[in-house]
């Protein structure tokens, strides 16, 4: 059994074999051992507001339809005709009671069952339509409106899989007075010429913030945000932790300095926003108590649900997922998430705050993309320069910092363990 990591607790060294980031054979194994075995994020209930609503997308390389049927039940269907395999729904989103294949006209109800087959009599009564509904992933479950699929039937429930990560999902969902968050319209989809696992690292690696994002920090400072000089050996303005949530999940958990649409005002929001921000805070305190309100509003957290779901609860709330498209390329999708009862002005502020940092036009994400692409380009030397050094903070006792690599090692240990299992 080969290992892609050197994990030496005595010498306190952790090395990663760079082949893991460049090899098409590794990618093939990942599809079988990770993406076909783990719970993979599909979508959010709020994307399907009414019965018959649907969206189509690719999840772990699989074209799927994520939809509500006529009764309002949510499904995840493979978007592949049982007859000769054509995609049956070509629209990106909409409302449909049925999906009809344009090739030979097989039509499926939106609960997946096969309705009509043109010229059915030619099958001489042998066609059992009840066996020919659209296929679907073996498992499909949700936690607080976040829906995941699993291609492996023999797997623990989603709730068991998420484990302690639910506490961090709760910190997001509890930002809504009714416990209902919604995906805002408008999706950001962009490719990065880098291995998908680099995005896992980048999403939680706060070590890179002062260098990669110095222009974002300058923008914050120019806008009147107080950026403290790091002290006590830190590289960041405030203290932040890296926390192991089990099952390969982990999060950063930082004292906030960057402003948050949930009741942490910064000058970029403008003086006019202060009364409304105060009201959001008041409601939060009244509903969950002062301690939990501070926990929600005054910390920011980037959460990774293994293997490829990131929820950035920072300058705004993002759902970010990404899938490999070859070993050296990934496709990233990002959405904004907000409370359903948010006022128009609070929603506008949330979206504006999102764009200060995140996305292909943000003040930070393009530089992340650049960094990951430079890594992938540098990896061309992998055969002669084989190991990535990931030991930062390994000797630290007790609390682990967000600017160390503890949480990155959690990912790689879990990944390596799954890649070793057959």
């Amino acid at each position: 059994m080969r290992s892609y990591i050197v994990d030496d607790p005595v010498k306190k060294r952790f090395l990663l074999d760079r082949e893991a980031l460049v090899s098409e054979a590794v990618l093939k194994d990942e599809m079988a051992r990770i993406f076909s075995k783990c719970w993979i994020y599909v979508g959010h209930s709020s994307e399907l507001k009414k019965p018959n609503d649907f969206v189509t997308r690719r999840v772990a390389g699989r074209p799927i339809i994520f939809n509500r049927d006529m009764r309002g039940d949510i499904h995840c269907l493979f978007n592949t005709c049982r007859h000769r395999a054509a995609i049956v729904c070509t629209e990106r989103e909409g409302s449909r009671r049925s999906f009809r294949c344009i090739y030979h006209g097989w039509a499926y109800r939106n609960d997946g069952s096969l309705g009509g087959v043109p010229g059915e009599e030619a099958y001489a009564g042998e066609l059992d339509k009840s066996e020919l509904g659209l296929r679907r992933p073996a498992r499909f479950e949700s936690y607080r409106d976040f829906w995941f699929m699993n291609l492996d039937a023999n797997t623990p429930s989603l709730l068991d899989y998420l484990g302690k990560a639910t506490e961090y999902l709760d910190l997001v969902v509890d930002q809504s007075p009714s416990g209902q968050m919604e995906v805002v319209s408008g999706v950001q989809e962009y490719d990065v010429a880098g291995n998908w696992k680099l995005m896992v690292e980048n999403s939680v690696d706060d070590y890179h913030l002062p260098t990669t994002h110095s222009t974002w920090l300058a923008y914050m400072a120019n806008s009147g945000v107080k950026i403290e000089r790091p002290t006590e050996g830190r590289v960041l303005p405030t203290k932040g932790l890296a926390i192991d949530l089990g099952n390969g999940h982990f999060t950063t958990d930082n004292v906030n300095f960057r402003g948050r649409p949930v009741a942490a005002w910064i000058p970029i929001y403008g003086e006019d926003a202060k009364p409304e921000m105060a009201e959001i805070r008041r409601e939060l305190v009244e509903r969950v108590g002062p301690d939990r309100a501070n926990r929600i509003a005054d910390t920011n957290r980037n959460l990774v649900i293994f293997p490829n779901l990131v929820i950035n609860d920072g300058s705004s709330v993002t759902i970010r997922t990404f899938f490999p498209d070859g070993a050296g390329k990934m496709h990233v999708t990002a959405w904004a998430l907000g409370p359903i009862e948010e006022t128009e002005s609070a929603r506008a502020r949330r979206l504006d705050a999102f764009l200060t940092f995140y996305g292909p036009g943000g003040f930070a994400t393009p530089d992340d993309v650049e960094a990951l692409e430079l890594v992938q380009q540098g990896l061309a030397n992998w055969e002669d320069d084989r190991w990535s050094e990931m030991s930062r903070g390994m000797g630290r006792e007790g609390e682990q910092l967000n600017s160390d690599e503890h949480h990155l090692r959690i990912f790689w240990r879990k990944w390596n363990q799954m890649m070793e299992s057959v």
Binding site: R92, E93, V184, S185, G186, V187, Q188, E189, Y190, D191, V192, A193, T212, S214, T215, W216, A218, Y219, N222, S223, H331, W335, A336, E344, R347, A348, L351, D352, F354, L355, T356, G359, P360, G361, F363, T365, P366, D367, V369, E370, A371
Partner: protein
């Protein structure tokens, strides 16, 4: 400039803007904007969306446009250092309406972008600008750029001024 605005006047202005952007004369480019200018790139899936209710690729007020230029001119703006080379071709310019001193114009564009040794990235789409007449010249009050691609995909980012 008289009361009748001609297409060629608008074209001249758009060509001048394109040249400043292609030459990375961004400080000078800021001079073409009004003090309340806005700059929008809607998301690929909702090109008709409103930035207050839809997540955009980019939605700047004048303060953030100026901050964006500062960022772009810094060698620490890694996504654009070394700078991309861009070449804009603007065509099908139309004056859609004139309302007092405000002129709404539409145009098609192709913006080819070259970065280091990467293959060409071609941004194709439409401009929808609101220009303000200032004496014999224009200033840009609103700059809205709709990208035709169904998703940003291989275009990657809008890290420069599109």
């Amino acid at each position: 400039m008289g009361n009748d605005i001609t297409r060629s006047q608008v074209e001249d202005f758009l060509y001048r803007e394109a040249a400043l952007l292609d030459e990375w004369k961004l400080e000078e480019w800021l001079g073409l904007l009004t003090d309340d200018a806005t700059y929008y790139v809607p998301p690929n899936d909702h090109p008709e969306g409103d930035h207050r209710t839809t997540l955009f690729i980019l939605a700047d007020d004048i303060v953030r446009i100026r901050e964006r230029v500062k960022r772009l001119m810094s060698p620490d703006c890694h996504a654009e250092y070394p700078h991309s080379r861009t070449r804009r071709l603007i065509s099908n310019v139309r004056i859609l309406s004139v309302d007092g001193d405000l002129v709404t114009v539409a145009a098609n564009f192709i913006c080819d972008r070259f970065r280091r040794y990467e293959r060409i990235r071609e941004y194709v789409g439409g401009y929808r600008f609101i220009l303000k007449r200032v004496g014999d010249d224009f200033r840009i009050k609103e700059r809205r750029i709709v990208i035709d691609a169904h998703e940003l995909g291989a275009l990657g980012a809008v890290s420069f001024i599109l």
